[in-house]
Amino acid sequence: MPAGRKVSIRVRRFDPAAGGRRSWAAYDVDAGPMMSVLDALFWILEHQDPTLAFRYSCRAGMCGSCAMVINGREGLACAQRLEHLRAPVSVEPLRSLPVIKDLLVDLRPFFDKYRAVDPFYVGHAAAVLDPASEPAVVPRGDATREIVDRQIDCIACGACYSACPVVSIVPEFLGPAALNRAYAVAADARDTAGLERLRRVTADGGVFACHSVGNCVTVCPVGVNPLLSIQLLRKGAVHR
């Protein structure tokens, strides 16, 4: 794509608190080299519409603030380059989450479910801070750790939650990100809260509600495989 080209962007606008209706707004963005969808949204905000709402922070694929649905598929706006996308580029808010305004969604349902799996590590009560001691010795190549290491890369952006068809029809389903976190922490050999957490994720709305569609794997912007975590939890692979 040559520099300075105009790229058409269609943005889903919605202002529920003002009683508005969902609509599409079209913009022609001055697309410079390497511009991302997030750059295009800023261009619209700064040049054409000072009321556009969206979420951002790091702009480098590390924080997961700018997940949205781009040309029908979930992704991080900062990590998708206009030159790689079919125009007109359509941008919509994440699905299965309440819209606050335009592309800004309320992530509370997502984090409420994340919280429900007790996502926090529980160390030994007498965890040692003694300077002479060494934190857990875990040899490189430890098979479980190699899986866990990939699954802890989750940035909790909500893309998998939005793309999951079960989430959209089974309101109590915890969703891929929460279950992935449950596996990653339960399979951490250093964690001591394994069994309680397992009861939680094998109850209603847990791993057995998953239909193994695999959209979560397809859309994850950082290469995590939540489906694998769900399958390992189903097999009871974290019993210690």
């Binding site: 390497m34 480098a60 924080c63 801070l129 934190p135 940035i155």
Partner: protein, 582 residues
């Protein structure tokens, strides 16, 4: 939709502004010290996402190895900071760092990379006499902040996401800090929060430059609020430029750092003629010289016409072997690939990028300020790093001083009384913040558009308060800042306060301008070259005159105080003293 003066109020014991490493560590440790405390964490963005600790790539310096020591780490930190550091703060940093690594691993659940024998791996970073940088791949901050965030869910700590602080509020004019005025982004509503202790940990201000590394919402808010509230700020001229910010065309990704471990592992910096130009500037350490030297060398190469057509230099890791680069720097390789560069096999265009503000609010090792009721931690605080920060000491600072602020807050709450925030002061802050609402939003090309004003500030700072400075340029920058202050005071935003990014931008630029003025003023004042502060009109380091810190406070011009060389003096040999002399 009209906004009315702050209706909602909130009372708590500890109010933490910011949710990076410092804010989260403060929250968790205040809670663990005293679980009955009512603790509230606020963040401008989403808690756990917003902030720069998450963006830490390289890692965390800690003297863990038996062959290393806090004394050695201290010496590297002071030499790197060219003796401008507050040595008691630096000592706190190096002596707590190993314990923090243990806490993160055994209590928080962070998992750092291991050596083949299963113990924690430490890698090479620039400017250090020992390989002491603990890391998780090349995206260390994600793991640290994600696990700290998980731990919030294990504790009864109230969270206010997407709620920025607009102003610190005293109990009476000239009194103690008694809370803060908060603004909820989604609803546009204000909250007047009352707290026994406020912890300021909002992060730094390098976004005042054209190329900068921090997340986009970091706009010097903490400096501006502390300055307006009457705090002393120290060494604001000390702005670190990282040598290797990615150049990514017209994208905001430009300026994002390609991590220092690449140079630690042996990557080269080349000019457009293919020369390893560091040979001219630091033939001994080459690319592993400290950030201030490498960034300035790159800048001088570009200024001398030896830069690339994209206006940068080249970072070349290809001779390290594709497998090595992809195996050790997968995050960096992915970032480059996204914009069409192959880090493992070809040079990548980079530019120096504004990265970290060493200056900040004056604190003691317990994070106390001169203002009762206010603690400051992380990048909002100054003095730890002196004139240049070592790579790997930033996240260490956030975690060490975040924990210290949490413990101090818990301790002070035992005795601190409760005082209501002054409603007159809160009302004035509220009125100032809401002034732009409903004014016409001028176009970017004509009139007082906040985005255009931000761009003009970034250009002025980059050109005149950047890697090499002189008096004429600094005066020009201060003139421009004056004009922009005038312009932003007339800027407008749409009337509806809900999720109003244009309004937020006006508030952001107001704060950036406060931080920029402090930076340019101190830079003009320091007539020598030291660390990150280089003056072409005063090119030498001058210990006889300038072994002093520069302070600024509202209503008072800059003044200096001698650095207290309590543990290590320039030219001294041997180990720094373990105990500070009284």
């Amino acid at each position: 939709m009209p906004v009315t003066s702050p209706r909602e109020t909130l009372r708590c014991d500890v109010l933490i502004l910011g949710s990076g490493g410092a804010g989260l560590m403060a929250a968790l440790h205040a809670y663990d010290a005293e679980p009955r405390l009512r603790i509230v964490v606020t963040s401008k963005g989403l808690i756990g996402k917003s902030g720069c600790t998450r963006l830490v790539q390289g890692g965390f310096n800690a003297a863990l190895d038996p062959d290393d020591s806090p004394e050695r780490h201290f010496r590297d930190t002071i030499l790197g900071g060219q003796f401008l550091n507050d040595q008691e703060l630096a000592w706190a940093l190096v002596s707590d760092a190993p314990e923090i690594i243990r806490r993160l691993e055994t209590r928080i659940g962070v998992f750092f990379d291991r050596r083949p024998d299963g113990r924690i791996h430490q890698k090479a970073f620039a400017g250090q006499s020992f390989d002491r940088t603990v890391h998780r791949g090349d995206l260390t901050g994600i793991e640290i902040v994600s696990r700290l965030h998980d731990q919030l869910f294990a504790r009864d700590i109230r969270r206010l996401d997407e709620t920025r602080a607009v102003a610190l509020i005293h109990d009476r004019p000239g009194g103690r800090v008694a809370g803060a005025l908060l603004l909820r982004h989604a609803t546009g509503e204000f909250i007047l929060a009352q707290a026994r202790i406020v912890v300021l940990a909002t992060g730094g201000g390098p976004r005042m430059y054209t190329f900068s590394a921090p997340s986009l919402e970091k706009t010097g808010d903490g400096y501006a609020m502390a300055y307006r509230a009457g705090c002393d700020l120290i060494d604001m001229e000390m702005m670190q430029f990282h040598p290797t910010g990615l150049l990514a065309g017209a994208s905001r990704l430009s300026g994002m750092v390609l991590e220092e471990g690449l140079r630690g592992a042996g990557a080269h910096l080349l000019n457009a003629q293919g020369e390893r130009f560091m040979a001219r500037y630091d033939p001994e350490r080459m690319e592993r010289a400290t950030r201030d030297l490498v960034a300035r060398a790159s800048y001088l190469e570009i200024m001398a016409g030896r830069g690339t057509s994209a206006g940068g230099v080249l970072l070349d890791a290809s001779h390290l072997g594709a497998d090595f680069v992809l195996g050790n720097f997968p995050g960096m390789a992915r970032r480059c690939a996204e914009v069409g560069y192959d880090l493992a096999r070809a040079p990548v265009p980079v530019t120096p990028t504004a990265h970290f503000h060493m200056g900040g609010v004056r604190i003691d090792p317990g994070c106390r300020t001169a203002m009762p009721g206010l603690l400051v931690a992380g990048e909002d605080a100054g003095g730890v790093h002196g004139a240049n920060r070592l790579g790997g000491n930033g996240v260490a600072e956030s975690c060490v001083f975040g924990m210290r602020a949490g413990f101090t807050a818990a301790e002070l709450c035992a005795s601190a009384g409760e005082a209501a925030p002054d409603t007159t002061e809160a009302e004035a802050a509220y009125r100032a913040a809401t002034t732009p609402l409903g004014r016409r939003v001028a176009s970017r090309e004509h009139g007082e558009n906040p985005f255009a004003i931000r761009d003009a500030l970034q250009r002025a700072m980059w050109e005149n308060v950047g890697l090499v400075r002189d008096d004429a340029g600094l005066r020009r920058a201060l003139d421009t800042i004056g004009t922009l202050e005038e312009r932003i005071s007339r800027a407008g935003a749409p009337a509806d306060p809900r999720a109003n990014l244009t309004w937020q931008q006006v508030l952001d630029v107001q704060n950036l301008l406060v931080a920029a003025r402090l930076t340019a003023t101190a830079a003009r004042y320091r007539t020598e070259t030291r660390g990150s502060h280089a003056r072409s009109d005063c090119p030498a380091r001058d210990d006889a005159r300038w072994l002093v810190n520069i302070y600024q406070a509202a209503g008072r011009g800059p003044w200096t105080e001698p650095v207290r060389l309590s543990r290590l003096a320039p030219g001294a040999v041997g180990s720094p003293q373990r105990a500070a002399p009284a």
